[in-house]
């Protein structure tokens, strides 16, 4: 029998996923304005000091603030009503404060969502993995930077980070959740042996591999040289067919030919910060509302009234669309806690009436 965290034990999730699938199919394989996921950072504290952290956690940015449990509960209820089927908890580092994490999970009610955690894996032991599965967490994503332990630890700023992360993924698999090995891919590592080693490891272990393209935000703000170019993108298209376990949020996951593009999911997947600000995605630090001031529906409607987020884009706006990046992401020094305001950064013509 499937375990508690399995899709088949979550009827409400299945119903929402089916609606999403039907919408996408009718919309030529594109995500359109269909609600997909909530990425929630309820606290920004972390035990590692990653060189490319997009939340500026290593700088201690807002690490003492927590999003109120009542607000999280309301957010989850509203998200469920609006058809959101994915709920991704991220940080900071979630497993640094397990009691807080389980309190948050209880507030969200994971039985309604494809519930997952993105963690550095440092505290992901066997007992923790089992407990997460019992709490109906469906997937755990662990980021790995290299198969070379020293390189990973150096990027992460702490010894044993690699060893613990690698062991953590195995605990996730053994607990019956979906193990995702997350890789950040940019111009600096695409099509390298180094990158291929990570892909092969994940494939051989029968994990899913989530590719996040390198984005010039957070600690990497203004580092435009990291952005994937056309050649890198061509390489990603090629390996998508070669490695069937590859996932990108921009790719259509239901396409059996591994070709279709779902489209950039800004606003389809919103990012909520510890102070309740709602950004269009974790990497585009543009604020479209705050959960203490507006309903989620009002915030999403506002987000989709902006043409860049409403219209289909084959490119990830944050990591691939150089024009968008230059115009809206790197100018005013945005962070997740100092986002640009949509009403200020976009002109009248950018809004759809």
């Amino acid at each position: 029998m499937p375990i508690a965290s399995s899709l088949l034990n979550k009827p409400k999730l299945v119903a929402k996923l089916k609606k999403f699938y039907e919408y996408v199919n009718k919309n030529d394989g594109k995500v359109g304005q269909k609600t997909r996921g909530i990425d929630l950072n309820f606290n920004n504290a972390c035990n590692l000091r990653c060189k490319y952290c997009f939340t500026n956690s290593p700088k201690g940015d807002h690490v003492k603030e927590y999003l109120d449990i009542g607000a999280i509960k309301r957010l989850a209820d509203e998200a469920d009503e609006l058809g959101y089927f994915e709920f991704d908890l991220q940080g900071g580092e979630l497993l640094l404060q397990p009691n807080k994490l389980f309190e948050v999970l209880e507030a969200i009610k994971p039985e309604r969502f494809y519930m997952y955690l993105t963690t550095n894996g440092y505290h992901l032991d066997e007992k923790m993995a089992k407990k997460l599965a019992d709490y109906k967490v469906s997937r755990v994503s662990v980021s790995i930077d290299s198969m070379d332990e020293k390189i990973h630890d150096e990027i992460r700023g702490r010894k044993e980070s690699w060893k613990r992360a690698i062991e953590g993924l195995e605990h996730v698999k053994n607990a019956g959740m979906d193990p995702y090995l997350n890789i950040t891919v940019g111009h600096y590592n695409a099509n390298t042996e180094h990158f291929k080693q990570l892909l092969d490891y994940s494939k051989n272990k029968k994990y899913k591999t989530l590719l996040n393209v390198a984005v010039p935000s957070g600690m990497w703000q203004n580092a435009e040289e990291i952005i994937c170019d056309d050649k890198d993108r061509e390489y990603l298209r090629k390996i998508r067919k070669e490695y069937k376990n590859l996932v990108r949020n921009i790719w259509n996951p239901f396409d059996k030919n591994h070709e279709k593009i779902l489209g950039c999911t800004t606003v389809n997947r919103v990012y909520v910060t510890p102070i309740g600000d709602v950004l269009v995605c974790p990497y585009v630090h543009i604020k479209i509302g705050n959960i203490f001031e507006q309903s989620l529906k009002e915030i999403i409607d506002h987000g989709f009234s902006i043409k860049y987020f409403r219209n289909h884009s084959d490119l990830c706006l944050a990591g691939e669309d150089k024009e968008f990046i230059k115009k809206f992401m790197t100018k005013s020094g945005q962070t997740i806690f100092k986002p640009a305001l949509a009403k200020d950064i976009f002109s009248k013509e950018d809004f759809i009436k």
Binding site: M1, P2, I3, S6, L7, L8, P11, V14, A15, L17, K18, Y21, N25, Y114, S138, G176, D178, K206, Y207, K208, K244, N245, V247, P253, F254, K256
Partner: protein, 80 residues
């Protein structure tokens, strides 16, 4: 192809398993390819091939190759 062959080929294609590795005792989550995304791809491809639309309860009950066959036979009148 008869319906059983079509049904099997949808499994092989949707879950990307080689036909050599395929067996009729296959259950949900038994192989990494049959995860939540794999499940929805499988369901959608069966719908397309047999021209049916599953009810949500049937998507949840569809926990194995055999169970799926049973649902298709009893509820959607697909003859195997």
């Amino acid at each position: 192809m008869n319906n059983l062959e079509i049904y099997k080929s949808v499994f092989v294609e949707s879950l990307q398993v080689s036909s050599d590795n395929f067996n009729e005792n296959l259950e949900y989550n038994e192989i990494p390819e049959w995860d939540s995304i794999g499940h929805m791809s499988l369901i959608s491809n069966i719908e397309e091939k047999f021209n049916i639309t599953f009810e949500t309860d049937d998507i949840i009950d569809f926990s194995s190759f055999k169970k799926g066959k049973e649902i298709l036979t009893n509820k959607y009148k697909i003859a195997f």
